[in-house]
Symmetry: C2
Subunit: 381 residues, 2 copies
């Protein structure tokens, strides 16, 4: 089996939305897809069987977290991440770039790489393009990511340009390391386009990466505090530079409406902790907007979270029961709402795929948005 194959299977005529099929060493993934985040080798509150039941075909794990605990060597010794966490479908690992810049302390960036202190115990660590790639080799995901610098928002143009150039040089070193490892048959390395909200720097970044003919390309450095409109604009301006026959991954995005907006602009893959994080705060996503379980209005509500959802949570439990569990701090509710929210995001991807195949993406988007934002029953998304 080819290590990595991507086919666009349908295109919407009025937008840049497309449906595709990604073939990876551990299985096939239909796109658009939403990858649940298993930061520390576990999608929070869910078992792999739960994640499968949500319809997910690929999940994401974080190199930064795993290298610090339990350590990449241990994961490798245990037979790689798939075996360690009992998930035999595709996995993508990020490069650690984003977390080094968002979580670690006392960073020092040089041409060589980044020195930082672990957010767990203050231990001094280093990530370079070479080590980030080698660590991802040990973890063994189907898709691994180039090590990039993820800058804060906003950043001045001259710094962004400097950083884009460094990220391009780092991408080349990742590519070299990966090529020389002989692991190209087992793992696919994607490049990450940076450039903040400067169109010419996004273009510059994309063009520099194209030289290495990566099997897939990501847009990084978004969802870092900027307004939503800025994310959509970056996608709109950057996607056209990315090869149409390769998967396009928008990192760290996003909400239900973000999926619609960014698939419309040509993106295929997404990940975000949002659905499971808000679940643990007692917030459920439904077709009619958000349900905040602590609200008294649900105390006697016999309906499931979402009447049109077929997940385990909606098949068996009332809002009244879920609210009770949340008020009583019962662990089960974290699992049930996480499961529902993840199913909700996955189902949006399925709806989008069908709409693309039927050439009615914009109509389907309009239908979704109308119900999601204008329903009186739920809080706003």
């Amino acid at each position: 089996m080819a290590v990595h194959e991507f086919k666009v299977t349908a295109k919407d005529e009025k937008t840049f939305a497309r449906a595709g099929l990604l073939t990876l060493p551990h299985g096939k993934v239909m796109t658009p897809c939403y990858m649940p985040v298993g930061t520390q080798a576990s999608v929070k509150a869910l078992s792999p069987e739960d994640v499968l039941a949500c319809g997910s075909e690929i999940l994401l794990a974080n190199t930064y977290h795993l290298m610090l605990r339990p350590g990449a060597d241990l994961v490798e010794k245990m037979g790689g991440l798939h075996r360690f966490m009992h998930w035999d479908k595709p996995i993508l690992t990020d490069s650690g770039g984003f977390q080094v810049f968002s979580l670690a302390d006392l960073r020092k960036i040089t041409e060589q790489g980044v020195e930082f202190q672990s957010h767990l115990d203050g231990r001094k660590c280093e990530l370079t393009p070479e080590s980030a790639t080698q660590i991802q080799h040990k973890i063994g995901a189907d898709i691994i990511m180039a090590f990039d610098e993820c800058i804060p928002y906003p950043s001045p143009e001259d710094y962004v340009e400097q950083s884009v150039d460094r990220t391009s040089r780092w991408a080349e070193r990742c590519w070299q390391t990966h090529r020389q490892s002989g692991r190209e048959k087992e793992q696919a390395l994607y490049g990450i386009v940076q450039g903040a909200n400067f169109p010419h720097l996004r273009e510059k970044s994309a063009k520099a990466l194209l030289a290495f003919d990566f099997p897939g390309y990501a847009i990084g450095g978004v969802s870092v505090g900027e307004p939503k409109a800025s994310i959509y604009r970056v996608v709109e301006q950057t996607a056209p530079y990315l090869p149409a026959h390769k998967p396009r991954y928008l990192m760290g995005v996003g909400t239900p409406e973000d999926l619609w907006e960014c698939v419309e602009r040509g993106m295929d893959m997404f990940d975000c902790v949002m659905p499971t994080r808000i679940a643990r705060n007692g917030t459920a996503l439904t077709r009619k907007g958000r349900v905040i379980l602590k609200n008294a209005q649900y105390a006697q509500d016999e309906r499931p979270l979402d009447e049109s959802c077929g997940c385990e949570c909606c098949r068996h439990y009332s809002r009244a029961y879920l609210r009770h569990l949340f008020q009583a701090e019962e662990l089960l509710v974290l699992r049930l709402v996480s499961l529902h929210n993840l199913r909700f995001m996955t189902e949006i991807c399925e709806t989008m795929r069908t709409a693309i195949e039927l050439n009615r993406f914009l109509e389907a988007k309009r239908e979704f948005m109308a119900l999601y934002f204008d329903s009186s029953s739920g809080a706003k998304g």
Copy 2:
């Protein structure tokens, strides 16, 4: 179907151990049985499907907790506890007696009942034999318990006698309330023998309750801080007073060794929060003793918790992975270890049942104890 039927199906010749079949409105329960505790309408960290997968056929819920939150009226309005929590097998509710005495503040005991303040919000509440029974009617469990006074250990003999007499008078009021409710077809009311560690008071209590011909009898007021030997002695001295053709339930007990010791002395039913509580502290029960997950010795241990266990946790996950999840505070580990520990307790019951049927209870007990207490690999039980 009869509301409540109990048949002793096998007896061990050398001990008082027996196997039985209990038929209840929501299904059959093989005894000896270990009831997982779903205090607040949820067995902590587990779904009903998880509990079923452990082999549990009946679970316990706490009247005290449910009356305070979400309230018995709400549970009734939602169609009763079975429907509310999505568990259509048998349920037993305690009477609230034990919790009033262990959790509530500012108790005042009178002949009428107990006044107390909710441990949740300080709200003034009252439980009487009548109201405890009526609340259990609203909750709708298959087996409900008489309202008793659960005294501290140790207590002076004269107070214990006074309390035993009051508990007997309360039992009569529970029995009257239940009879007049017309719910005897749907719910079975069990009496609770008190008397601390005074054999003649246990005898007095048991004999007083026999007058009401309850369909089942419990031994209460044990596992309140006294030495284990005292629990076993109370069971040994009390069980003979309880009718042999009715189920005998030992409340709030216990550990693996407690099950063996007390089944040997003629008990049929057990409940305890221990297996799920220690699971949440990262302690697993195995045939070779306890496994404390945080211990460094498990960091690279590829074995499952218990190599002879077939539960979801042992089928798919290594000790190394479980330890990582525990160190990383990942919620999944709470579910997996709870599931394993509950399966472990249920499997002990299955082992005991088979041993009774084969008339080799003491041999099986000796085999279990030898492995459980003398293995070098695990901490002691």
